[in-house]
Symmetry: C3
Subunit: 167 residues, 3 copies
Amino acid sequence: MSRLTLVLGGARSGKSRFAESLARQHGGPRTYIATAEPFDDEMRQRIARHRDQRAGDGWQTLEAPLDPAAVLPREGLVLLDCVTVWLGNLMHHGRDLKAEVTKLCAALEACPAEVILVSNEVGLSIVPENAMARRFRDEQGLANQALAAIADNVFFIAAGLPLKLKG
Amino acid sequence: MSRLTLVLGGARSGKSRFAESLARQHGGPRTYIATAEPFDDEMRQRIARHRDQRAGDGWQTLEAPLDPAAVLPREGLVLLDCVTVWLGNLMHHGRDLKAEVTKLCAALEACPAEVILVSNEVGLSIVPENAMARRFRDEQGLANQALAAIADNVFFIAAGLPLKLKG
Amino acid sequence: MSRLTLVLGGARSGKSRFAESLARQHGGPRTYIATAEPFDDEMRQRIARHRDQRAGDGWQTLEAPLDPAAVLPREGLVLLDCVTVWLGNLMHHGRDLKAEVTKLCAALEACPAEVILVSNEVGLSIVPENAMARRFRDEQGLANQALAAIADNVFFIAAGLPLKLKG
């Protein structure tokens, strides 16, 4: 039985859909941890689209833009979507990203529920000109490494198709 | 026998060369559907380089920058290179990209010829600052998912080397 | 026995750490070829971090920001980290990148030592607006193809996890 699964992929790679298909294989109660803070209409539409995809599927949804570790349920299946938006929120609010990632890792290791994490791979381009963008891609890459190290299964998604990296 | 093959990869990943090596395994008549509209010298050189690579190989070349579905041959092997340039042309001309992708998918499913599609994976970086770039990477990602869903074989190319995602 | 290994990955993908873990499996003398020229504090910190990771591990370090081919040892294990920084230095100094890559490939093929190369995959985003960035990602992609073609083993690293592309 898998306990912690990390689903990595690019923008519009189908990673959320793949994570949801994994989640549906779980028979118990399902909790969706939403990380998005809607800053603008573009993001609001994105959130709505993801909600629509889950509609009628019997998920309990928890909003945790800054501290998902604090709301992790003790049972069933948890889908946290996504780590990238959470890290963006932390950076926006001036938090210590490395400390927060360490805290989430500890919470995940202590959590008896099965957890699926969705995260973006953002480092496969030329170096961004923007210093904050450079810092973000460094933090995201390090977070992905830390989460992958404690995950039982890791998938890389491209064009909706999974490639197993671990497990 | 494979009918529809999708070859994904980054810029200068060797995806076109790999797709052409697949195409050369086919014994029948070969049609190359070129999608590029040369806007500037950089693109003109790129087109010429790709042409040089096919030179003397006995390809029939069709130019279809906006509507490749309309020129799909009924037999032999078809290489469409590439979906990304085609999507860029559609966006440049203000077309409805989702509708055009749906139309191409329908044409591919009805096409009796063997088809190889080349497309870029463009979503593995930080979010672009430019809104049109963000929209393009969304459309490209969705198009890749739609094409991968109907493809028999999907390859991801890195450094000229194929990784099989499907088939 | 592997002779030439290419380790590809994005920024903060764990590719250097993976390459170092491969290197540690080698019993003989180990040479680290450092390519970085510290232009600013950010790069200086990055260099220092990588040095710290090798600290006390008994590596001989050679600095070769422009001509690693000239310093390749004749025995033991060589880790060249990384091709991307080297290409950036060449571009900064106005060198002919294709000629230099050809020269490195020839030197690697003639080198009796076991060599591990670290390089970035930078082409999986939308087309950069900056012309020099476009040129760099083209040169990097072509260099990766050339090196992968002569490598015995090629790995793609994501979130610290290796995916074997060749070998």
